[in-house]
Symmetry: C2
Subunit: 219 residues, 2 copies
């Protein structure tokens, strides 16, 4: 029998919701005995390709999002604090977190980096020193990892992962993927849980019908 | 002692998430002994003013949203089926639902209209005949209501409600408002529930700090 499909967790460190979902997805994967595979992608590139704005680029939404994140972190009992600046350039962290390594090491590294961005660590992950230190704590050779992340291959790897996200139909982070099914955002975790539990009740016929409906008004 | 602030539910019939949240907000308001006041607004005008796209205007997001709505409806045990076309022009329904009437009548009317849009009624609410019939079932004089909805005053009323939504900081529907606090989307209901339960743990200092942070990268 084939092993159950892993949960692939597409994310960018820039997203506070990705951090909040990250704190929940590990226990959820363990509960359903699924492998968890973090996949770093560049959120800004998803926004560009979908021709949309990010929440931080819409002033009213930005303020609301901050409150919602703080409330959701408190509800989940998760430590939360913003990085020194936001939005910030996440490419160094994304590239280091995408280097070839075991899944266990990658999970430890992603966890450490997220803590410094959104978990109250407060240092952010734009500084080489911080990334080096977190990589070492995750069992990597920190300096080597930061050096490797500068290679053309490392840059291409994050780009490839981002392109795959778009091919899979993604428009935002975090998105958890199981097989071909997407679950977007912290708020989709209850639906993901039902899916893993074999209780997914999406009727393909109703979906196809809805997807085929015409618009009778546009802006 | 002053009565507890009501829950004001800002919505547009065009939004399936507004329908899903509508099915949940009544029992929630009753549980916390709050008045529930539906406030019809034009979602398209919120999008315009915030310079953003709606989910139905981003192809990948549109498909995802349909699946997510079907899954969320099944999870909540709520009847769900799309209207004959989508997006559609909601103005007639919004204007009728905004006419002066008791809160109880407005709730019955909004409920009836939502059922014909997203509750599997299947007729939508763009046809005068349907709106007339639903208005009558809610205890109004149906023909008179549809006639009244055409007046300049009726048009202005929906515009005023939409302007108030923007002033309050809204960018999407549904948004539940208690006092000055916004709770956006079906997914914010757990945070709203904690807020009503006196367990809101939003630390104003952390919020102010975050809101004052600089960006170190933009697209």
């Amino acid at each position: 029998m084939a092993a159950a499909a892993p949960i692939r967790f597409f994310f960018d460190f820039v997203s506070p919701y990705a951090y909040l979902a990250w704190t929940q997805i590990g226990p959820l994967a363990a509960r359903f005995e699924r492998e968890l595979e973090p996949v770093p992608v560049l959120f800004a590139a998803l926004l560009n390709d979908n021709g949309q704005k990010g929440p931080a680029e819409i002033p009213r939404k930005k303020l609301y999002m901050m409150k919602d994140c703080l409330r959701s972190a408190a509800r989940l009992g998760v430590p939360f604090g913003p990085p020194p600046s936001h939005p910030f350039n996440p490419l160094l962290a994304l590239r280091v977190a995408s280097l070839p390594m075991t899944t266990a090491a990658r999970c430890a590294l992603v966890d450490g980096l997220f803590k410094d961005v959104w978990g109250g660590g407060g240092r952010g992950v734009t500084a080489v020193g911080v990334v080096t230190e977190v990589a070492m704590a995750a069992g990597l050779s920190g300096l080597r990892a930061v050096e490797d992340a500068k290679s053309a291959e490392s840059k291409e790897r994050v780009k490839r992962q981002t392109d795959e996200a778009l091919t899979l139909g993604m428009f935002g982070v975090p998105t958890a993927v199981v097989g071909a099914e997407l679950f977007w955002g912290l708020d989709a975790l209850p639906n993901l849980e039902r899916f893993l539990d074999g209780k997914d009740t999406l009727d393909p016929e109703v979906f196809e019908h809805w997807a085929s409906l015409p618009a009778s008004a546009t802006r």
